[in-house]
């Protein structure tokens, strides 16, 4: 997505008449998920930078910070083209405001959507400052240059002047058109390691997350939500709860219908499942009193049909679904005949479970609804979606809403959902006071929007020479989007086949089909989303073919990539974005070199490889594992090669990859949300484990130098982790683990 070459957006910058405030530039940043057919519109600025007479440079950040370093990275992009003094760049978190357009933070899009407009804004501001300086000195503009550090110099006379001194004059300079951007070889800030702008506040405990919100007159609330998905309150007795000291009010919260998350159209009878949980709210003077009050509640629940569900039944249904043809999503050639007439076939089934997000900051939200105004302090990745939902549920115009976007203690997609904001607003309205609604850890894990369970059947046909001539992939899973939109979406592919990837376009006969599991368990977007489960199956299966044909797994990947006949769609998040085979080969070769691929390891140890194109980036992992005789698995080392185009801050990229590996490992080694009688059985970190420090492998990140446009980096470190480890386990033991989390008891030697 790009802002260039669009006549309606040509004049993408406007200068303010801010007068004594200095230079204020407004510019346009395109949306998170650009509607491809959106009509051309007049220029509407949605981002701002300001340079004041003291020399402070201020950028309003219109994305959410949740640890990915977006506040730092966006400021760096601006500062680079502006040739600013980095130490004077301040950022300010923008509230949710229609003037900023789509503020969603997701899909690893923040850098991708701001790279061009921020650079252009910075370059234009620098050009205006140059004009102002030349004018002040009465010299030709082309004799002046930005010296870095917010200073303009005139070398002939040795004069220097600061941006602060020029700010007011520059504000009256007409906004230039088509200012050239820097040659990357001249970068001074972009591409360098810079400390996080918010690091100091974090280490002294003064970073304010959503949970730290305190507003005058605020009370604290917890909610008893239905234990079964889709359940409702039949009746409740609040007598004992109201007797708990500090408990002020106890009331029912309705399970109201909520709109889709991202402004999509939804048919009234779509069969969506996007309702607030409902339940019974306990409002008290403190969090602990509210928790004590909830414990004293007696609630009779109507569990509804969801109570029939269990993980065992879901797995049995998914197994059955794979036995009959699914909905055909992509077909090339004649895959069925090709596999039937193949000299050799390889077949394998894979399985991944429901997963919870488990952000360290549990879900929470503070709201104040008074009269016809609603103010919310939300740790949200999706302020626009929350605004839409609040307006709809409270029956208020969006102009009556104020949504403050707080620092977020971990997002990972959980905070794209808007349930907790709607819930807090309804509770505040009923309570008649500002309320912070706190979710305990068991609330958080039992009322999540889960990464969906999935089963996969992979089949490949090989010719007599061992070449892959057909590839058939059948996915059986509940749809994520249908939670919010209804129907068996996607009807024709779309967002839930990302990661089915490479074989599409590399083999003459290809089939991708999908079957849908209907379930009351709500599904949501979990870091790297569908790429995780589809990529796990695909990358493991490539290894299985390699083993069946006696090929090296890396060599087979190289061969498949090399036979890529045309830039067909990858089925990744960019829809039909063609894969660049050279860049994919590049990261595979780099990771092989850095990981000592092919070098023998002692018995019981092995290496596994997986490579991804996704979110605009190319990432390859090699995992190195040790498997003890009793089956104990240890991941010793993970080497990752990354080509994400132009790197803004290599330290932030490395951090995201290190974290992505841990996220992937945690899911591969430990986690599974299981359902019994329609209820989530897990409750906290004791029965839903996280990787801890003692099990942290050595992670080495290697970046490919590049000046291609930046790719995403928040998610692409995750998906290859699990298959790389599965493939390493096979290399170490000769045993295939095809189900996540790994059932390592199967590795014990009898």
């Amino acid at each position: 997505m790009s802002t260039t070459a669009n006549t309606s957006r040509r004049e993408f910058l406007k200068s303010s008449s801010a007068g004594s405030a200095g230079l204020l530039l407004a510019f346009y940043v395109p949306a998170f998920a650009a509607a491809p057919n959106a009509p051309a519109q007049d220029f509407k600025p949605n981002a701002y930078i300001a340079i004041d007479p003291r020399g402070d440079i201020r950028l309003v950040v219109t994305r959410s910070e949740m640890g990915q370093g977006v506040r730092t990275a966006l400021a760096m992009i601006l500062a680079e083209e502006l040739d600013a003094d980095w130490s004077r760049v301040k950022i300010e978190q923008g509230d949710c405001d229609p003037q900023y357009g789509d503020m969603t933070t997701g899909d690893s899009m923040s850098i991708r959507s701001t790279w061009d407009p921020l650079r252009k804004a910075g370059a234009s501001a620098r050009d205006m400052l140059l004009t102002a300086a030349a004018d002040s000195w009465g010299v030709a503009k082309d004799e002046c240059s930005a010296a870095g550090g917010s200073v303009i110099e005139h070398k002939k006379t040795g004069q220097k002047i600061t941006y602060g001194q020029l700010a007011i004059k520059a504000a009256s300079v007409p906004v230039p058109k088509d200012v050239p951007l820097k040659d990357p070889k001249d970068y001074r800030i972009v591409g360098t390691k810079r400390a996080r702008v918010d690091g100091q506040h974090i280490v002294i405990g003064e970073a304010h997350y959503g949970i730290d919100t305190k507003v005058p007159g605020m009370l604290y609330a917890v909610v008893a939500r239905p234990p079964v998905f889709g359940g409702k309150v039949k009746k409740f007795d609040a007598t004992r709860a109201l007797a708990v000291p500090g408990v002020r009010k106890v009331f029912e919260v309705a399970a109201v219908e909520m709109p889709p998350l991202f402004g999509e159209e939804r048919k009234p009878d779509s069969g969506h499942q996007h309702y607030l949980w409902g339940g019974v709210a306990v409002v008290a003077d403190s969090t602990w009193q509210a928790i004590a009050g909830r414990r004293a509640l007696t609630i009779d629940w109507d569990n509804g049909p969801g109570a029939e569900e269990s993980t065992a039944k879901q797995r049995a249904t998914l197994t059955e679904l794979l036995k009959t043809p699914g909905k055909e999503l992509k077909k090339i050639g004649d895959p069925d005949s090709a596999v039937a007439s193949a000299a050799k076939t390889v077949e394998a089934d894979y399985e991944t479970p429901f997963l919870a997000h488990m952000t360290m900051e549990p879900v929470n939200c503070t709201a104040s609804v008074r009269g016809d105004k609603c103010e919310v302090w939300a740790p949200t990745q999706n302020p626009n979606g929350m605004a839409t939902a609040l307006a709809s549920v409270l029956n208020l115009p969006q102009s009556a809403l104020t949504i403050h976007i707080t620092l977020i203690g971990g997002g990972f997609g959980r905070r794209l959902c808007i349930d907790y904001g709607v819930e807090a607003a309804l509770i505040s309205r009923s309570a008649g006071t500002p309320v912070k609604v706190m979710w305990t850890r068991d609330d958080d894990i039992r009322h999540d929007y889960y990464r969906p369970i999935s089963h996969h059947r992979l089949r490949a046909g090989l010719d007599a020479q061992g070449q892959v001539t057909s590839w058939l992939h059948h996915i059986a899973a509940p749809s994520t989007d249908s939670t919010f939109l209804g129907g068996e979406v996607p009807d024709t592919g779309g967002t839930e086949i990302a990661g089915t990837g490479l074989p599409n376009g590399t083999v003459p006969n290809y089939l991708l089909e999908q079957s849908f599991l209907h379930t009351a368990v709500p599904r949501g977007y979990w870091r790297a989303v569908d790429t995780n489960w589809n990529h796990f199956a695909v990358q493991c299966f490539i290894d299985e073919i390699a083993a069946a044909t006696g090929k090296d797994p890396l060599a087979l990947r190289r061969q498949l990539i090399a036979t890529k006949q045309k830039p067909a769609g990858q089925g990744d998040n960019e829809g039909e974005t063609p894969v660049n085979v050279d860049r994919l080969l590049g990261v595979l070769n780099l990771v092989a070199e850095k990981s000592d691929w092919g070098k023998p390891l002692p018995a019981g140890r092995g290496r596994g490889i997986a490579g991804l194109f996704g979110f605009g980036s190319y990432v390859a992992h090699v995992a190195e594992v040790t498997v003890a005789k009793d089956g104990t698995l240890r991941v010793d080392r993970v080497v990752v090669a990354v080509d994400c185009g132009q790197v803004i801050n290599p330290d932030l990229v490395a951090a995201q990859i290190e974290g992505g590996v841990v996220f992937g490992l945690t899911s591969a080694l430990y986690d599974e949300i299981t359902i019994q009688n329609g209820q989530v059985q897990q409750s906290n970190f004791d029965n839903y484990q996280m990787l801890r420090i003692a099990d942290m492998p050595k992670v080495e990140v290697h970046l490919v130098p590049s000046h291609e446009p930046p790719g995403g980096i928040g998610e692409p470190g995750v998906p290859s982790t699990a298959p790389a480890v599965a493939n390493a386990i096979f290399a170490a033991t000769g045993k295939r683990l095809r189900r996540l989390p790994f059932q390592t008891q199967e590795l014990a030697k009898s």
């Binding site: 301040k90 918010d198 995201q656 974290g659 801890r692």
Partner: protein
């Protein structure tokens, strides 16, 4: 409810809360010291770690009645100027991602280094094994603990870690 007297960061407070109230919620809701974080409520994640008489303690399961009269230190009181060697090492290695768990990690590390000025990797695993970082910053945490230990034991006063200028909470 009777008033309970506690000492936090050297300051005495008299709080009127039920004696079974966890220290965590007294710090956060009553005293407004929100640097101590709620993560699990069952001493499983370490986000709520404070010092009680110098010992790293999970405030989410420490009843207020059990800490009355004892010296409690929170992240806000770890250093006067935010320049404790552990805090400096955390910045120098750019440990935090979302940062939510890090104040607990820092408190446990500071308590560890007070007793063991040169912890081995297994000492670190043992001390921080009860902590969870969902962002996955463990590699940098280990590095920062070693770095803080080196500074701590040599008592050297090096230049403050580079702190970026922009300040947003």
């Amino acid at each position: 409810m009777n008033a309970i007297s506690i000492t936090v960061n050297g300051q005495q407070h008299s709080v009127e809360v039920s004696p079974d109230t966890p220290l965590l919620w007294v710090l956060r809701d009553t005293l407004g010291l929100t640097g101590t974080k709620f993560g699990c409520g069952q001493a499983l994640c370490g986000a709520c770690t404070v010092h009680v008489d110098g010992e790293a303690t999970r405030s989410c399961t420490a009843r207020i009645s059990t800490v009355a009269g004892r010296n409690i230190t929170t992240i806000e009181g770890l250093s006067a100027d935010g320049q404790h060697p552990v805090q400096r090492a955390w910045l120098a290695d750019q440990v935090p991602q979302c940062g939510y768990c890090q104040t607990g990690m820092i408190m446990t590390t500071a308590a560890l280094l007070a007793k063991n000025s040169a912890p081995t990797d297994s000492d670190i695993d043992e001390a921080l094994g009860g902590h969870i970082c969902r962002c996955g910053t463990y590699q940098r945490i280990r590095q920062a603990v070693h770095q803080a230990a080196a500074k701590h034991s040599s008592s050297e006063t090096s230049a403050p870690a580079a702190v970026a200028a922009a300040g947003v909470r």
